[in-house]
């Protein structure tokens, strides 16, 4: 069996950041295992810009952002195994992977970073009735076809779901000459970032039909059209609102799910709401020495945040490798559970050590659109920090930072993140 100090699973922005940061913190033998033929994760197909403004002060495209980290990985002589799929990990940190060159590989790792990202929900997860013609793709698959393979999936397009990938593809297909008829969104608010609503839909006069869904699919060999309908508050189609829309292509942009088969098989505790592992402020999972970062933990909006999360995992994996026996932070740990309160759907990390040496940023998603609210962190029955927000939507992640002094003084073992003075827009 081979040995390594740190094995990073997945070579996207999260995995590369973790590997680079661990190497800079003195970890000698770092290996990245990536199943694709290049490093970069989802970035090489995200040719649009909007990456890296916060980290580099520049607006980069996905491939450019990836390129900067690929260069760092090379400079630090980090071992990279491409076309290598990880099949299994164990709690004692044995990683089993496979590739066509070496066959089955087993590596005994001092620490592991999970950075497998997420995958798209498909039609199966949606259950749309109707025929099964060709011409139905997930938005990410279409993105890969158009931007990497150079193949246009169709000419008349309907997009179901207003997640960012769907919005980006609405513009991309329009620029390449397709007619994008509409984007349908089940919820009463868009799923993607506001900037993408503006520059991908409004710029090209593509209608956004909020509170609508696809209820039927038509066509035998090739898609010929879809039936859309308005939905009621419970998300159920309203009978007399059916409308036929002619199209040869349907793109599904209905969300991403963290890719955690490997984590589940290793009995790492998974949060039902985020579908990612429970993590603490060090990005460590329920299994000591196994860390997780990026979209495998929860779906991030910004790659800059993914990279920062990767740095946290890399730095703490390095610290774990150094201090393995007497981890001082945890030895006298006052473990605080972080819980979502009123108006909040989920908060990351779910656990914080009261005596941790750094300030901790809690990231969370709200459960509806709210205007003029206070974001509050509460502990010991009082508000320990609050931030005012003009508007907050489920499409955009929010955060609140607690200083180490604040964390140290908490006695009840719990932190709650919630919104106060709620005013729901619309309903």
């Amino acid at each position: 069996m081979r040995e390594a100090d740190l094995v990073v699973i997945g070579g996207g922005p999260a995995g590369m950041a973790a590997a680079v940061e661990a190497a800079r913190n003195g970890v000698e033998k770092v290996i990245i295992l990536e199943r694709d033929h290049t490093l970069g994760g989802i970035l090489p197909q995200c040719i649009h810009n909007g990456f890296g403004l916060h980290l580099f002060g520049e607006e980069l495209t996905g491939p450019e952002y990836a390129d900067r980290f690929i260069k760092q990985v090379e400079e630090l002589n980090i071992d990279v195994k491409l076309n290598t799929m990880v099949l299994d990990i164990t709690q004692s940190r044995i990683v089993t992977a496979v590739n066509s060159q070496d066959g089955l590989i087993k590596i005994k790792a001092g620490a592991i970073v999970l950075a497998m990202g997420c995958r798209e929900r498909t039609r199966g997860a949606l259950n749309i009735p109707g025929t099964r013609p060709s011409g139905i793709y997930t938005a990410g698959t279409a993105q890969r076809l158009v931007n990497i393979e150079g193949y246009m999936p169709g000419k008349k397009v309907v997009i179901l779901g207003s997640g960012d990938i769907g919005l980006i593809m609405a513009r991309r297909m329009t620029l390449e000459g397709a007619q994008v008829k509409m984007v349908c969104e089940l919820m009463p608010y868009p799923g993607g970032l506001n900037r993408n609503i503006v520059q991908c839909l409004k710029d090209f006069d593509i209608p956004l039909r909020l509170g609508h869904t696809v209820v039927n699919i038509h066509g035998k060999a090739r898609l010929e059209g879809v039936t859309i309908a308005k939905v009621d508050e419970k998300g159920k189609a309203i009978a007399d609102t059916h409308e036929f829309v002619e199209c040869d292509t349907l793109l599904l942009s209905v969300g991403l799910i963290p890719e955690n088969e490997i984590s589940r098989d290793a009995s790492i505790t998974i949060d039902d709401v985020t579908a990612g592992p429970f993590v603490n402020e060090s990005a460590e999972t329920s299994v000591p020495g196994i860390f997780a970062c990026g979209n495998v933990v929860y779906v991030h909006d910004l790659v800059d945040n993914v990279t920062n999360n990767g740095y946290i995992a890399g730095r703490n994996a390095a610290r774990y490798l150094k201090e393995r026996a007497g981890d001082t932070v945890k030895a006298n740990a006052n473990i605080l559970q972080v819980r979502p309160g009123q108006g909040v759907r989920c908060v990351i990390p779910q656990l914080v050590h009261g005596n941790c040496p750094e300030d901790v940023t809690l990231s969370f998603r709200v459960d509806g659109i709210y205007r003029d609210v206070m974001i509050e962190a509460k502990a010991d029955n009082q508000v320990i920090k609050s931030v005012k927000k003009r508007i907050t939507t489920p499409g955009e992640m929010e955060s609140i930072t607690l200083s180490r002094e604040m964390l140290q003084s908490i006695e009840s073992g719990k932190i709650e993140v919630c919104l106060s003075s709620l005013e729901r827009k619309g309903d």
């Binding site: 040719i47 810009n49 491939p63 390129d67 991309r172 620029l175 506001n194 900037r195």
Partner: protein, 121 residues
């Protein structure tokens, strides 16, 4: 009568809500809501002459993959987007291409160059 326009800043994914107050002659009286100075200049151009960066691909010859990704190195007037796409889609370049290589200079006299954002070998 002065008019007030609500915009969403698209310069970065934070998407700040901007509010622009313009006078009768369209001159800008006040801009608010931005979190940084990029947002300020975005609000100015968006109200007077909206501009966008184009990100797309060009065909390559002799490479492992059929395309390489490109962008305009400056925003171009929004109204010229489709015209630029027509020109870009006629381009074919030989490998190797590196991030930052200029593919086409001064596209449609806009002063913007088309540059590679990916590598191709």
């Amino acid at each position: 009568m002065s008019k007030n326009t609500e915009l969403t800043c698209i310069v970065c994914p934070l998407g700040c809500k901007l509010s622009v107050l313009q006078g009768e002659d369209d001159s800008i009286i006040e801009i608010s809501g931005h979190s940084c100075k990029r947002g300020l200049s975005y609000a100015q151009t968006e109200c007077i002459n909206p501009e966008r960066v184009i990100t797309t691909t060009v065909r390559i010859r002799g490479g492992q993959m059929p395309l390489v990704s490109v962008k305009t190195d400056k925003p171009i007037p929004k109204t010229l987007m489709m015209k630029c796409m027509k020109i870009i889609n006629r381009i074919e370049v030989m490998v190797p291409v590196k991030v930052g290589d200029t593919i086409l200079e001064n596209i449609l006299e806009t002063g913007a160059n088309l540059v590679a954002t990916g590598n191709a070998t």
